[in-house]
Amino acid sequence: MNPLTRFVFELQEISVLIWRSFVSLFSQPRYVGEWIKQMDLIGVGSLPIVLLTGFFTGGVLVLQTFPTLQYYSIQNESGRSVATSLIRELGPVLSALMVSGRIGSAIAAELGSMVVSQQIDAMRAFGTDPNRKLVSPRLIALILMLPLLTVAADIFGLMGGAIVANQLYSQDISVFVNSARNGIQVEDIIGGVIKPIFFGLVIGSVACHKGLTTTGGTVGVGRATTDAVVIASIWVIIFDFFLSKALQYVLDVGPM
């Protein structure tokens, strides 16, 4: 199969997977217990790494931009610059990348080993639709949890920024907070929450698809896991660009 045909084929498979999972939400059985378990694993489980990422990203942003802002004597606007870049861009993208590394790989590895040890076949043979039981709960958990994780990352990022500005550049916390509050629009926050919904869908569907189409034993599981993380990460970044453009258009968020 040439690469283009392959790409279109996989795109079709992933679309079918998403569609089936979506349709399965409207009929019994729903495995709500499984949804909650996945939300716990994905949401609560990823909280520490996402918070750490957010905190240090906010910190390093101030660390790197403060001298430049100072050069133009607008160091009082450091809060604005951190808030805008975090909430619009870095919060959603970095959280999504962290989650795709942690959860995308876990999903692909788990489903992949279930395929190679015939557990998926067994499930089907016993009358369970793997889409319903395995894919839907993971997609739902990612779509609901990633926005929440992103918001948490944003908040910790601002905290990190404030601490660095205060401790290393002796800026008053209130100056930082005020400039951050003035800098953020409601549209920024809405945009920053809409993005991770799509990222969650991308990560979940790519990882589930890669896991469920694993072939070739344990080596195949390794390959599926790597593919899932790499492909999900790349798509997050590509999607980010187009989503940003679309959100600029829809929400009318222009350049600063």
Partner: protein, 298 residues
Amino acid sequence: MVEDLQEKPFMADGSEVITDFEEPINDRNRIAPVIEFRDVHLAFDEKVILDGVSFSVRRGETKLILGRSGGGKSTTIRLILGLLKPDSGQILIDGEDITNYSEEEMMPVRQKIGMVFQEGALFDSISVYENVAYRLREQNVDEEEIEHEVRRMLRFVDLEDAIDKMPAELSGGMRRRVGIARALVGDPEIVLYDEPTAGLDPPTARTICELAIKLRDLQDVSSIFVTHEMNNVGYLSSEYAIINESGEVVFEKEGERLCLINTEVIMLRDGKVMFNGTDEQLRSSQDPYIHNFVYGKN
């Protein structure tokens, strides 16, 4: 199943074992095939897996499918479960043409079938109890009945002690037996075995074969037993299980009192059925390929 052991076994001729047998052997029900393949073809890309395979399995009969690895044996079983669809030809289960059934339409058909997977294929995130209970849970059976049923099945495979263990704590042979217990929940009329003894030591393999013999002779289960091990063929096609005077299950060799006619052998080669008959015919075959397979040398 343990309680049902009083039910009389299905045997070949009219010895005393079957004098009060309820169904006569030439019952129409018994002649109509439970599983039937009609000229089934299947290929993955260029690779031909099945090339015009036809055979049938009658009620209470066991068909042993032999062949080299990668010869389409497991594929045959996956086709019966509807996990794969053939490129052409027909597959009938209980006279019902399932060839073009959708996933939803397959569900009631799959409930009649118990499947024993190669390595057991237990769900390793849940306990032995939950594994065996899986099918009943999906059908929303109440907890009390589930527990009763799970214990009954685990007793049948002699693993009641392992009920709370996780699959990872079990040995290979135990995993297969749990796999068998799981397949038997709901008393399926058809049981499919996909190389259930591969990689097991001879006594454990023998235990698995005995379970299959018990199901065949005491429960009247129809089955397909995929294997490439000749000793399995020996056990299944020359021994039968009966209940002796003191109510215990005993295994006897055919020939002394009875002759077994409910077990036949099919041999697949390059996607074609190259042999279909009894084990005696198989062993005396002059075909070099079969001779090589049976005796491991020419």
